[in-house]
Symmetry: C2
């Protein structure tokens, strides 16, 4: 168990992870980067996508009985707080994710990170309300929690114990310290940073537990559509019979990040008609005070693409998914050949989708090692300690394989191999 | 003095103002609306503006040594947290506002409302830290304060006393109650809701007072460029020699709202190199956890327009300014003829710019009267009580003249006249 001071220092380190990433990218611009989980740019076609905006504006206008010119003007104006393309998102969720969610239970946000920032103070309004998050976890939830002075309590998703046992113990631990777990933040599919997937059993038992405990699950799913093999598991939102799961989606990975369009899809139980009481009403009100409404230009680009594609992005993401799969395979092969000599000393997981994998090393790999690795060997990786709440992940690193060429993967893994070799030799 | 319960109810009423506005607009779609301060749509040209995005992408790429295609891809990718077009904004601030602010002291935000939401918890980190805001005040600051559980203390900008005397008393009042005023929120130019302008003397003495008291001024300036007559006064940012003014700008009114592009410009004193300590560093970090970066597509539209216009929007807004001036004149003339019979019973101000004017009535005009006026006479107006912290403005209404035709202005004021007549007759 870590001391409080360590916990705070680790939180500060997590909060600094983005700055660290930017800094080493600036300091070593020629280094090969496995550090940032950016989508592959070769599948962007923003120039062509924005050419479809006029067609969307026409549809938008004609639905409101406006001329083409007035349709465009109304698109350029302030718009509905909850969004413009909710009907298209609702249909896409049905087709691509098997999710039934009415258009009016969706709030379009400036990236799904905004949805997190809006929901946390709504779901954790009182002192002592805490968020449960996996250790390691996506850095964004740490930042939002810190901004709203809401405590994050970590639980382990890995290791020997079941995730439900680990969660139950954490909830109990909170209660005995006068705290109330209100929110569980999860990335069930191809997790960032670990690439892991929650099993069907885990999904259903977590839902049962949270429904019983009155905890709202925030299911963040940026990577689910990038599944390399096997069948996708149902989302927790679609499994939920209690109304305790809010689904967070984003078009940053499936279309492109520059749009900053994401959304929160709420279960009917959180959408009572009285907007003063329901989570939907509070979310909408908070949104109106933070970003008023999500850029209607950006929503129009997403809307046009969804309309052109019959409200499914499955075909749209298929080439990118093939690319990510190929990159994963290349990285796994490179790791195998580079670390063959190490035996069990260096190991890694084999994610079935997403952007990331994890390498276990026989020594601590923290900020200093990441700097040395970049400076001396020209490869950037993210220490898992940046995502972790304790020291159990100090020997692990995250490699992003999403936005690199095969040559860069082979070269970069070889460079990492040389860094590891010098570290092992020095011991 | 109002009781605490009244203060809370009034805060809730302010928070509900947006919902109220949407609701009566939905309920009475054929009513003439003086309620919402939207920019005039006839000056939008979003279809043509987005055609300039490729040229901006090319410039963006060539500065980074990229091909046209890769320039576009990099635009579509995640980008700098603090923004992409800071250099262009910095030049525009110099040309259009006489503001010297280095590009690296600017943070581009998803509308300037996001800047408010990011800055309030940074500037008011402790319990007892309070925000000073004028009564009446723009509703957005109320929402942000409520979201971050930060108290708003109102002061009067109108009435007999000087604004500095009123501010000094409020600061003193806070201190004697164990509270510390940290932020002063102000719209010095063509205020929403009142249309009022702070004099040069008021600007300088408020700056002196705040510098002495360690209070940061948030100068929100959405309407400054729409000046109908006379010379514009210098912004408080440009008058500030102490580093106590943060300038908030937006392109929602000068270009169009659908972009959601605004910014915060900080004085050097708030931009120390150590990003953990400076307001700039904290702002950037908070931004990275809320919206990651402002939509680069939306920034590209603004950037292209600024480039094409030599980084000045003065010519661009000139036709719109003429339109707003004509609308104000039409509204003043309509008020004069409609209420000629009332003598001093009904009066109004004559704003020198912006979107709004205020009418003083000889009876209370609250939510119920606004509903009745919409239902029975087909005209929507905003009670000033929605913007006020006490009951001193219960007899006043805000009329927005920005997005209506002259015919609608004449007809709408006549309708308002009939409502006033029935109210007077009933007394």
């Amino acid at each position: 168990m870590l001391q409080d001071q360590d916990v705070l220092e680790r939180r500060d380190e997590r909060l600094e992870a983005m700055n660290f990433l930017n800094q080493i990218s600036d300091d070593y611009p020629d280094a090969i980067s496995f550090a940032s989980g950016r989508p592959a740019e070769s599948f962007f076609d923003l120039g062509r996508w924005i050419e479809r905006v006029p067609a969307f504006a026409e549809r938008h206008g004609s639905r409101a009985g406006l001329s083409v010119r007035h349709g465009f003007d109304s698109l350029a104006q302030y718009g509905r707080t909850n969004g413009l393309i909710n009907d298209l998102i609702s249909r896409q969720l049905m087709i691509d994710e098997g999710i039934r969610c009415a258009a009016e239970h969706i709030v379009v946000t400036a990236g799904c990170q905004e949805a997190l920032d809006l929901l946390v103070p709504i779901l954790c309004p009182s002192a002592g309300d805490v968020i449960l998050a996996c250790s390691p976890s996506y850095i964004g939830i740490t930042g939002v929690a810190a901004r709203h002075k809401t405590e994050l309590l970590p639980f382990s998703r890995h290791g020997g114990r079941s995730i439900v046992a680990s969660l139950t113990q954490t909830i109990e631990h909170a209660r005995t310290h006068g705290k109330q777990a209100r929110v569980l933040y999860l990335v069930p599919d191809f997790d960032n940073p670990t690439g892991a997937v929650l099993s069907l059993d885990e999904r259903t038992s977590i839902i049962e537990l949270c429904a019983e405990m009155g905890i709202i699950i925030l299911e963040d799913n940026p990577y689910g559509m990038f599944c390399f093999e096997g069948t996708r598991l149902p989302t927790m939102f679609s499994l939920d019979r209690y109304g305790c799961v809010i689904y967070l989606g984003t078009y940053s990975k499936t279309i492109c990040p520059a749009l900053r369009v994401g959304f929160a899809a709420l279960p009917p139980a959180l959408c009572h008609a009285d907007s003063n009481l329901s989570v939907l009403g509070k979310l909408s009100r908070a949104k109106s005070f933070v970003s008023v409404n999500t850029s209607q230009l950006a929503q129009a680009v997403v809307g046009a693409l969804l309309l052109d594609a019959g409200c499914s992005l499955t075909r749209h993401v298929s080439p990118a998914t093939g690319h990510y799969r190929g990159n994963r395979d290349c990285m796994l092969a490179s790791l195998s050949s580079t670390f063959a000599y190490c035996g069990d000393q260096v190991s890694w997981n084999e994610p079935k989708g997403g952007f990331f994998l994890i390498v276990d090393l026989p020594f601590s790999f923290l900020r200093a090692q990441a700097m040395a690795c970049a400076r001396d060997h020209g490869v950037l990786v993210m220490p898992l300690s940046f995502f972790a709440f304790d020291d159990e992940h100090d020997n692990r690193i995250r490699l992003a394989f999403s936005n690199v060429t095969h040559d860069a993967i082979r070269d970069g893994v070889a460079r990492l191999g040389r860094f590891v070799q010098t570290q092992l030799a020095a011991r």
